[in-house]
């Protein structure tokens, strides 16, 4: 399960990188960046308080 999760995360990372760098157009890049920031902040907010 952990391996699967790591693979999915890696694939998501590659997708975000390609999307943010503009491979799918400017509109998609802006959307992907916004989603990336929301996901990152969401993960940090959910786990940060318990860990740090």
């Amino acid at each position: 399960m952990q391996t699967l999760g790591a693979i999915v995360t890696a694939m998501a990372g590659i997708f975000f990188f390609f999307a943010i760098i503009g491979v799918f157009g400017l509109g998609t890049a802006i959307g992907a960046l916004a989603l990336f920031v929301v996901v990152a902040v969401g993960v940090i907010a959910r786990t940060g308080r318990q860990q740090a």
Partner: protein, 464 residues
């Protein structure tokens, strides 16, 4: 062997500006981090934030000091090595440097003392205001310098009259075509640099089982800021790439390592090349098939323009531009990967216990500085052979100074800067070795470097 004054002047300026840029990059990043940390302390009254603030304040003070001193040297070097540049472009560059002093230096000078020495002398809100204003000062300073440098990349708002540039529109000079894109790219680079520095030191403590609460909080903050910022930076970098392709095509042609007017279709993305500038070809090139078309033209079959589109006498040296870009971009990819891995480990509740990741963070501590240096080599070597793009060649900007003087001063700069770097690394290492618990309540002033370098003095300063 005959020494060329133009080459020596370029090496000297390249060396001193490369050394200088390290310190403002760190101090811009740390100033923002300190403002956020002190703000969180005021909001939560969690003493751990104050401990983090006090620890990083000492390192910030050192980077700030070296950054100011080495920055002032650059202004004098305009006179020493590039007097003709001053004669031609002085009416444009001079006021911008002056405005940097009047706005950011005065602001920083006014509040830096409160920030460094005022923790127990003024109220916490005033102290926080001082920290924020110093952070704003660093951003203002970067804005003016980026404006001046961007104008040299994409000059606008001037006219040439009797061999001198005269300003016709100050707004166009300051907000020149590349500045709105290069400034956020540079500021984000500095904040990323600070984030990885903070995370790396925290990871080092975790690996050695020291200051665990402090280390967990700094790793969490550092990786958190880094992952968001690197996403933003990738976006900003691509936008800037498109702009520079429009304004400085030769730079971007050299950055991709192709010589032919049109690359094959689909184009590979070159990672390693050995360029032969004289014969306008690569002796070796290693790349990933298709990726050049996908990344650079955003299509599967797009072709990339090569450096042969630019006349040879207007071409930059491909090797310098290419590898400057690869260092910056390669590290950006690594940073993005580390950011994603950090998010995944955080989600799995293993961010602070996964030792291989903590070692990666330790090794990534200077990554922001290295990426920034790569970016600046791309920017500055890619502008060649022009010092002011399309208006003044670098060889025509050099002072009529004998090569011996330039060589002597270059050696002197190398010796003095080695001392600066050595002192910085020794003091920073000592602060890290001592740890946050021993960080003084405020920075300690010393009138002379000699007693300050004495280990007994350091012991006294950091004593609780």
């Amino acid at each position: 062997m005959t020494l060329d004054p133009a080459t020596l002047a370029r090496i000297q300026f390249g060396f001193t500006v490369s050394f200088h840029i390290i310190f403002p990059t760190i101090s811009i990043g740390l100033a923002a981090f300190l403002a956020i940390t002190e703000g969180l302390w005021l909001k939560t009254r969690d003493a751990l934030y104050l401990e983090i603030y006090r620890f990083w304040l000492g390192i910030f003070a050192m980077t700030f000091g070296i950054g100011v001193v080495t920055g002032i040297v650059l202004s004098f070097e305009f006179g020493l090595g590039f007097a003709r540049f001053g004669q031609v472009a002085g009416p444009v560059i001079g006021p911008m440097i002056g405005l940097e002093v009047l706005t950011s230096f005065f602001l920083e000078a006014g509040f830096l003392g409160i920030m460094l020495f005022g923790m127990n002398r003024v109220g916490p809100k005033l102290h926080f205001a001082a920290t924020c204003l110093v952070a704003v000062g660093t951003i203002l300073s970067a804005s003016w310098i980026m404006s001046a440098n961007s104008w040299m990349q994409t000059p606008d708002g001037v006219a040439m009259e009797q061999g001198r540039l005269v300003v016709t529109d100050w707004w166009k000079v300051i907000v020149n075509p590349s500045w709105p894109y290069r400034l956020p790219h540079m500021l984000t680079a500095a904040w990323i640099t600070g984030s990885f520095a903070v995370a790396g030191i925290g990871a080092w403590y975790l690996l050695h089982g020291r200051h665990e609460a402090f280390a967990r909080r700094t790793v969490s903050m550092g990786t958190g800021f880094a992952v968001v910022l690197i996403g933003v930076q990738v976006f900003l970098g691509d936008i800037l790439y498109g702009q520079m392709l429009q304004h400085q095509p030769a730079k971007m042609q050299a950055a991709e390592g192709f010589w032919d007017k049109q690359s094959p279709s689909p184009a590979a993305y070159n990672w390693i090349i050995i360029p032969d500038q004289k014969n306008q070809r690569n002796l070796l090139q290693i790349g990933t098939p298709w990726l050049g078309s996908i990344w650079l033209t955003h299509s599967l079959t797009g072709r990339v323009e090569g450096l042969s589109n630019t006349p040879p006498d207007q071409q930059p040296y491909m090797g310098l531009v290419f590898y400057g870009f690869r260092v910056m971009y390669g590290l950006a990819i690594v940073m993005f990967t580390v950011g994603i891995a950090g998010l995944w480990l955080r989600w799995r509740r293993r961010l602070f216990t996964t030792r291989w990741f903590l070692w990666v963070l330790v090794w990534m501590t200077p990554s922001g500085v290295l990426a920034t240096l790569g970016g600046w080599y791309l920017a500055e070597t890619g502008r060649q052979p022009w010092v002011i793009y399309g208006l003044l060649r670098t060889v025509d900007a050099v002072s009529p100074v004998p090569a011996g003087i330039l060589l002597t001063t270059l050696i002197a700069f190398a010796c003095v800067y080695a001392l600066f770097l050595g002192a910085f690394l020794i003091f920073a290492a000592r602060l890290v070795a001592k740890g946050p618990a021993d960080a003084p309540a405020h920075a300690e002033a010393s009138g002379s470097l000699k007693p300050a370098l004495n280990p007994k003095t350091v012991e006294k300063v950091v004593a609780p």
